[in-house]
Every structure is written in C-alpha cells, then in structure tokens.
C-alpha cells in the first residue's frame, strides 16, 4: 500500500523583518522544523500539541497554503512543493480543509448555498444551475443540514450547524484528503460529539483520509488510527491511541496525557499528575539539542544522558511506533518505561 500523503523533512520558517525600506531579516520563527510522516489512504492521523507547536502550520504547509521552506509533500505520487500555483490547481480539489472557527471561516455576505456551491463552480464540476442546486442540497442533507435553509446566511445558524456548513463545503469537490484543523474546539461539549460522529460517518461512507489536528488527546482518540505528538516544530512520538495512552514513552507525551482531566472523581483522586513547569519556549530561539530538555523530568533523573539532551537533537526511532528521545533510545523501545 502506498501512502496518499507523504511528508519528508518538512520545514516552514517565517522570517521576522525589521526596518522600513530595506526589510532585513532579523530572525526566523521555525514553526515547523523537519518533520516526516506518511498517511495511508482511508487513514486518520491525529496531530496533537499545544498552541504554537506548529500543528496548524503543518496542515497548511501540506495543502500548500503556505509554501514550505524546505522538504517534500508527496500527494498521490506528486511532490506538491515543486508545482507552480497553476499546476497545483487540479490537485486542490482533492485536498480540502475544515477550519476551527465556524464564525470566521464562512463569508457572512454569502448564502449557505453560495458557500457550499463555490468550490463546485471554481473547479467546474457542474454544468448548469439545476445541477449545482441539486448537488448543494445533497451535500446539506449528507451533513445533517435542512436543505430548505439553502438561502439563509451564516449568522442564522448556531456554531455546530455552521461547522456542518464548513464540512459540506469541504466535501463539495469530492476530495480524497481533508485537513481538519481543530474542528470541534470552539463548540459546546454536547455539539462536539455530534460533529465528531458526523466526521466519522462521512469518512466511512466516502473513504476519506484525514489529518486531524487537535490540542488535546481525548479529542482525537475517537477518530484517529495513529496519533503524532508535536512539540516546538518537531514530532516527538507517533503511535496508535491505545499504545500511546497505555504506554506513552516520550516524557512530553506522558505529561500531556496526565494533564487531561478525566470526568470521574474517583479516577482523578488516584491519578499521578505530572505538572510541567513553565511555558513552551519561543520557536524564535528553540532550546539546543532536544527542544523539550528545559522542561523534561526524564532528563533530570538520567544525568548520564543529560549532556546529549542539551547537545544533540534526538531523531525518531522505531517503525510503527516512533519516539524521539535520548533516554528511550538508550533503554531501547522494547523495554518497559516504568
């Protein structure tokens, strides 16, 4: 089986400029700094990390909404980073995006019908107005919207319904691959579950491939086949959910899991919480070596590798489950973590 999306050593740096006339580059924000992964057809890869870790930038760089600084993004056998805008156009209908904020991502001056139909018109997928209207209404039904509301405006809908409009728009061109950028983070809890179930249903029906971005693990567990954990522009661990939850190996993954509260007081009372100190360092000037070493508990109890942690950047080791950590590398992936 060959991967639908293959990312190789992807880097996305944003220059920080100063000066009025000669805008000289004074620094670089290394939002994504050398990440690689594959997504198989029909698979969902969850991408998890805290704000500013580069997860949204990764999604946008894959879709070529940002043109990457370096690295390859191979989609369906074609390296997208080498294509011009014009050459990219036929690929765009096969890769779509669902956004976090259902308020900001819909044009308030367009009707729902126009919003959902726009990609169909842009990509010339319909021949006349009747066909357009029929397809838009089919999409609305598929996403749980009442097709009678086709002439309404976004402000007339609730947050959850707006997110359904965003999903219908993403599905319009019958894409193979969709980047879901925190699609439930802005919604009420009861509505989050509705949208998650809708996305799962659509994936099953249409054989979609997802990159699902979220800031915490509980949100992606129900939909992801594998989960990649990001920290400061790098992937630190990749595994399926069960493995990741039962036996997280990277110290950052361990902290991330222990930080998510569980709605059960008895479980909460028994849990051993790892509270990370301080904030995520600035991606303008990330720590040397392993980027997590400034907040790492494992480094503190393993003085023999501590020097390596501050000096060398660890690489992902392993096949299906991957970890980038000097302590894990020394002990071997197979050995128990506790």
């Amino acid at each position: 089986m060959s991967a639908l999306v293959s990312v190789r050593d992807l880097r996305m740096h944003f220059p920080v400029r100063k000066g009025v006339v000669f805008q000289r580059e004074v620094a670089r924000v290394k939002a994504v700094d050398g990440i690689s992964f594959d997504i198989q057809p029909g698979e969902t890869l969850g991408l998890v990390g805290e704000s500013g870790c580069g997860k949204s930038t990764t999604g946008r760089a894959i879709l070529q909404l940002y043109r990457p600084t370096a690295g390859e993004v191979v989609f369906d056998g074609q390296d997208l980073t080498r294509l011009s805008e014009r050459e990219l156009f036929p690929y765009r209908r096969h890769m779509q995006m669902i956004f976090q904020d259902p308020y900001a991502s819909l044009n308030p001056r367009m009707t729902v019908g126009d919003i959902i139909g726009e990609p169909l018109v842009t990509h010339r997928l319909v021949s006349d107005k009747t066909q357009l209207r029929r397809q838009v209404q089919d999409l609305m039904v598929q996403c749980g919207l009442n097709p009678q509301y086709v002439r309404r405006y976004p402000h007339e809908f609730s947050g959850g319904q707006r997110q359904r409009i965003g999903i219908a728009r993403a599905l319009a061109t019958r894409p193979k691959f969709i980047v879901c950028d925190e699609p439930i983070a802005a919604l009420d809890v009861s509505i989050q579950a509705q949208i998650m179930n809708l996305l799962k249903k659509l994936q099953k029906e249409l054989g979609l491939t997802f990159l699902f971005i979220a800031h915490d693990l509980s949100a992606v567990r129900h939909i992801s086949d594998r989960i990649a954990v990001m920290y400061l522009g790098r992937i630190v661990e990749v595994a399926d959910y069960e493995t990741l939850y039962r036996d997280p190996r990277h110290p950052y993954t361990q902290a991330l899991i222990s930080a998510v509260p569980i709605p059960d007081p008895e479980v909460e009372a028994k849990r051993n919480r790892i509270v990370l100190e301080g904030d995520v360092p600035s991606p303008l000037n990330p720590p040397s070596g392993c980027r997590f070493h400034t907040r790492c508990a494992a480094r503190r109890v393993n003085p023999d590798v501590a020097d390596r942690c501050t000096r060398d950047e660890p690489v992902l080791i392993g096949e299906r489950r991957q970890v980038a950590c000097h302590v894990v590398e020394r002990d071997g992936l197979k050995s128990p973590s506790r």
């Binding site: 179930n197 509980s218 709605p263 990370l276 904030d279």
Partner: protein, 327 residues
C-alpha cells in the same frame, strides 16, 4: 446552617431584550460551606456565569435586573447591601477570575499598578508595603523572577502567566470566596493542569471557598466537593461530586457525561445530546430539556418538574430520573 459561607435562595435574574424578557436565572438555590468547592456546570447560555455575576452584583442594569431571591454571604443579604458596601466587599472578601485574562487586565497599566491598587484601596497599605506584598504574591502563584515581572505590562506575559497574575490579584486581600468563571478554558491542557493545581494549593493554604464555573465535567471532577448542573437558567441536578458522577439522575447530566471523550474509556462511539442548546427567549413550557430528552413524556412538555431526592444532598428536577428516588 452556620457553617455556610454563602447561601443563594430562589435567585431570579431577568434581561429585557427585543425578543421579550429572558429569565437567565430562574429560581436558583444552593449553598456553599466554608472551605468547600462548588462546581457549576452547564452548556453556554445555561445561566452559570449570570448566577455568579448576580452574587457579585455585577449585572448590567438595564437591561438586566435581579428580580428576586436572596444571596446570603455570612448571613448578610448582598442583594440589599448598598453600592458602597458592595465596593468594599468586591476584591476584598469575594474575588473573581475570568476566562480571558487578557481582556480582564488593563493593557495600559503595568502589572505592578494593577496589583497594588487593590491593596492600597482595601487594606490601606502604602506604596512600598503594597509593592513588596505584590511581588510576594507573584512568587506565591509561581511566576519566575517576580521582581522583574512585576514592572512589566500584561502583553509581556503568556496566557498561563496572565491567568496567574489574575489569580494573584484575586487573592491579594485573602478573600473568603473566590469565584472562578471558566478560568482554564482559554488555556492549553498542560497549562490548565498548572492552574488547577495552583487553585487547589491556594485553597488548602488559605482555606478559601471556591465556586468553579466550567462546561468541562473533567475539570470539576478533580476539584469540586459539590456540583450544580444548570440548564436554561435552572438547576437540573445538584449533588456531592462523587455521587453525581456515579449516579447521574438527570438526562442532561448523563448526556454531558456521554458526550465528553474520555482518555481512559474503551474505544466506542460518543453519544451526543441531540438538538441544540436552548434559545432562552423561546423556552418551551414544562421542562426546558424535554425537546432534547429521550425520556420526555407529556408531563415533561406540560409541567416543570418538582425536585426529587436521589440521595443525601442529591436532588434533581426531572419527571423521569435515571436513578431511584429515595423517600
């Protein structure tokens, strides 16, 4: 009940809107013991924030109006207190922290000014004493290098650090009651864990009572002693925390529990609450949850249910509670 720091009886808060009068809070009663933590849980628009703003008498009037009820703080009815007495109380005996620390800090003023103001106002400290107490407090809430940070502006702090500043400000006068309105909703999970640990520690050190408002049942599970579940301005269920999670009686509580993805549960489908949160101007007669409820009967669509006792200190407003009703 002499040990109750706060008692709220039949609180009514109404807002006048173009669509008619909204009963944002409609007959809410609860009490909070000294040193205890109460969690108020509900979807957006359930009236949890309005309830707490009413306790602080922070309802904008008009269009809002506290239409009835009593709020007894140490036996004194705050709804009858003068504006001057309320000013003395706020930030001194009752403090509040909000969801978005950036919009609740003044961006034009250094953190030092915002911290010392409370002390000079309420405790009559001079500049120098207030300054050293302020720096001490920043250190207490875990801000590194507090003496340097003290003279910085809010934008120089990260989200988690800003929330720490808010907490420091709220606790400067050692309040008896801290109201935290979604204090961690805008923060990352690891920072959320830091802030919750901090509130827990400060509560133990100072014996402060806490009201924690949140839509996340996970957050209250580890923090609260008692939980109040609100729906459409009313109390749907009230119970000791352990009992609420073990034996949820109101279908809305059950629905909230089922729709939260759990880290530790087995891999299964999420069961969302169907439909949408209620539109408070168009509430149906009878139980407001009935249109979204799997168990709704004709009685639910007709009459608002009277409270039913489920256990000790555990009651629910539901015609068909999911747990056995005790005598």
């Amino acid at each position: 009940m002499a040990n109750n720091l706060l008692e709220v009886h039949d609180l009514e808060v109404h807002f006048r809107t173009d669509g008619g009068t909204v009963r944002a809070v409609d007959g809410v009663s609860f009490h909070l013991e000294r040193g205890a933590t109460l969690g108020i849980v509900g979807e957006s628009g359930s009236g949890k924030s309005v309830t707490c703003n009413a306790i602080m008498r922070l309802i904008p009037t008009p269009p809002g109006r506290i239409a009835g009820g009593r709020v007894l703080f140490e036996g004194r009815d705050l709804l009858q207190a003068s504006a001057r007495d309320m000013r003395r109380l706020r930030g001194n005996e009752i403090s509040m922290i909000f969801q978005d620390p950036m919009s609740s800090l003044n961006p034009y003023l250094k953190v030092s000014r915002q911290l010392t103001e409370v002390l000079e106002l309420h405790q009559g400290l001079d500049r120098k004493a207030a300054r050293s107490r302020g720096i001490e407090m920043l250190e207490h809430v875990g801000i590194p290098d507090p003496a340097r940070r003290f003279d910085q502006y809010p934008h120089q702090f990260s989200g988690g650090m800003r929330q720490r500043v808010m907490i420091a400000m709220a606790l400067l006068c050692k309040p008896k009651l801290l109201i935290a309105d979604e204090p961690t909703t805008a923060l990352d999970v690891t920072i959320q864990a830091q802030i919750l640990e901090l509130i827990k520690k400060l509560k133990e050190d100072e014996g402060t009572s806490v009201i924690l408002i949140t839509h996340d049942l996970g957050v209250v599970a580890g923090m609260a002693d008692e939980i109040l579940v609100m729906y459409a301005g009313r109390v749907a269920e009230s119970a000791p925390a352990a009992d609420l999670f073990r034996r949820p009686a109101h279908p809305n509580t059950q629905g909230l529990l089922d729709s939260v993805p759990r880290l530790d549960a087995d891999h299964d489908e999420l069961k969302p609450i169907r439909g949408l949160p209620p539109i408070v101007t168009q509430l149906p007669p009878g139980c407001p949850f009935a249109p979204r409820c799997d168990f709704a009967s004709d009685a639910c669509r007709r009459d608002y249910p009277a409270p039913k006792s489920i256990g000790s200190e555990h009651f629910t407003h539901c015609h068909h509670p999911l747990q056995e009703v005790s005598a």
